[in-house]
Amino acid sequence: MRLKIQIIHSMAHIIEQIRKNVAYQISELKRYFPDAKYEIQGNRTFIWKSGIKPSELSDIYIIKIKYSSSEGPKVYVLDPNLVIPKDRSLIHLNYDDTLCLFIFGEWQKDMSIAETIIPWTSEWLLYYEIWLATGKWLGGG
């Protein structure tokens, strides 16, 4: 009986942590990107959508970030359609069309997406445009 209660308390604690984490990410995002659209799904997932322009002369890209506490942030470019080379490593694009923005360890759950993923997304878009112009990926990696 006591073990059952302990387990229920632990799970409740974990769920609370996840909810707090999601709440934290969203509040940070709202701070920096007040005009973005948010959709919260359950306790542990949300979707963020906004237009991002990496430079004054760049195009505006509609970005979707799907965040789940189990899988972390996944970034999609909804519009315009990306030009995708056969060798996806040229533009650091995953097979599920999410952007590869960091190597393992560079992003952790306690980091604010607003201060990491989004700036890195903007960089990705800039380097993508320059890749289209030059055939080279100049962002390192």
Partner: protein
């Protein structure tokens, strides 16, 4: 406003990719210095002082444009001025003694082209980058004091420019006779320098520091950096216009406007703009509206673009012999206006690159955007790359979010 700032940055990168590489420039300098020394050391009968050797043209003005292809060459113009008067020397004799001095060096003798109308030409062998130089050496003497006096008193040319007036030799095609022609490359260069001086003074130190950072293997201190490689927006505009011209007239080079016209009109139109894009647009605009600006004159039906330091010299004289030339010129100016305004309208750096590639050259544009990309990465590594709120616009310095360093990766499933 900020879009124009970024376009400025792009134009600057483009102009830099039109530059002669620094190592190549230093090689050119070495070569013309060596030729100069050889000429200085010569014995010329009747001369009591050593010749004055100086560079003219784009190397002197700081408007050299890299050749588009390896088949094209860099052009170095060297004046060899003997200090003797017209009374004591005939043009044929002047031409010959300089030619003889060059030929007495066995290397130069081997490199020498057949005699030109006004100069002797040395052809240098291809360098490791596949690009050649050729050097035109112009024999010259100071022009008559009476002519200089006329320039000053009758035509209002400042003393300092008139003082440099020279006579060069010209071999007539028809009967191979030689006569004197008037010229004043040093006076022109001084006039050009004075035009850009205010902005040059503003940017000199900062630009030299940038060059030291980039070329630490060649330049160690500010004193090492030669003044003539610091480019004001005026010089950058001239470079861009010359390259645009080279590409636009690739199919009919016989109609292309001479660099003297482009350089002179740009310098006259330049209004000390520090922003490259503004300078470019304003200069093109003033040339287009030449009737109002007076940059190009029509005198009794004759086209005139007078040399600012010799008002009797008409840079547009060939326009009056061949109406295809002015027609081609004004069509080109229209094209300039269209091309640069069109580029600015594009959304996306890749679209801007696409619109500029055919007019500036694919390699130069790619090179420029590569350096643009690298500059963002350098800023990120230095910790100064920032992201603006709401828009996500990246810049060095302004923006609430500092981009942490990271590594692009993938793909993975």
């Amino acid at each position: 406003m900020e879009q124009r700032q970024q376009f400025n940055q792009i134009l600057r990168h483009i102009a830099e990719s039109l530059d002669i590489p620094i190592s190549k420039y230093e090689l050119a300098k070495k070569r013309y210095t060596a030729v100069g020394k050889w000429l200085e050391d010569g014995y010329y009968v009747g001369m009591s002082s050593i010749p004055e050797i100086y560079v003219q043209g784009s190397f002197r003005l700081g408007t050299v444009v890299r050749p588009i292809t390896e088949e094209d060459e860099y052009d170095i113009d060297l004046v060899c001025q003997l200090n003797i008067s017209k009374q004591n020397l005939s043009p044929i004799r002047l031409k010959k003694i300089i030619g003889d001095r060059l030929k007495s060096n066995k290397d130069y003798a081997r490199m020498m082209d057949k005699e030109g109308r006004r100069c002797w030409t040395l052809n240098y062998a291809e360098d490791s980058d596949g690009v050649r130089f050729h050097m035109d050496i112009l024999p010259a003497i100071p022009d008559d004091d009476s002519w200089k006096h006329t320039l000053i008193s009758k035509h209002g040319i400042p003393d300092q420019y008139a003082a440099y007036a020279i006579a060069i030799t010209n071999k007539e095609r028809i009967n191979n006779s030689y006569d004197w022609l008037r010229s004043n490359p040093r006076g022109y260069a001084d006039w050009f320098d004075n035009t850009k001086q205010p902005v040059y003074t503003q940017i000199e130190t900062q630009e030299k520091l940038i060059l030291i950072e980039r070329h630490g293997d060649i330049y160690v201190s500010i004193e090492d950096v030669p003044n003539e490689i610091i480019k004001t927006p005026l010089q950058r505009v001239i470079q861009i216009l010359k390259r645009h011209r080279d590409i636009w007239f690739q199919k009919n080079p016989e109609n292309k406007p001479i660099s003297m016209i482009i350089t002179t009109l740009s310098a006259l139109a330049y209004d000390n703009e520090t922003e490259l894009f503004l300078a470019l647009i304003n200069i093109i605009d003033k040339i287009e509206h030449y009737v109002d600006t007076g940059l190009i004159e029509k005198r009794i039906g004759q086209w005139w673009i007078p040399n600012p330091v010799d008002p009797l010299e008409n840079f547009a004289d060939k326009w009056n012999e061949n109406p295809a030339l002015p027609s081609a010129f004004f069509k080109w100016v229209e094209q300039l206006k269209y091309d640069f305004n069109n580029a600015l309208k594009q959304k996306g750096l890749h679209k801007i690159a696409e619109s500029l590639s055919p007019v500036i050259g694919q390699r130069s544009v790619a090179d420029a955007f590569e350096r643009l990309g690298t500059s963002y990465t350098e800023n990120r590594k230095r910790g100064v790359l920032k992201t603006a709120v709401s828009t996500g616009v990246l810049s060095a310095g302004s923006g609430a979010i500092k981009n942490p360093d990271h590594t692009f990766h993938g793909p993975h499933n």
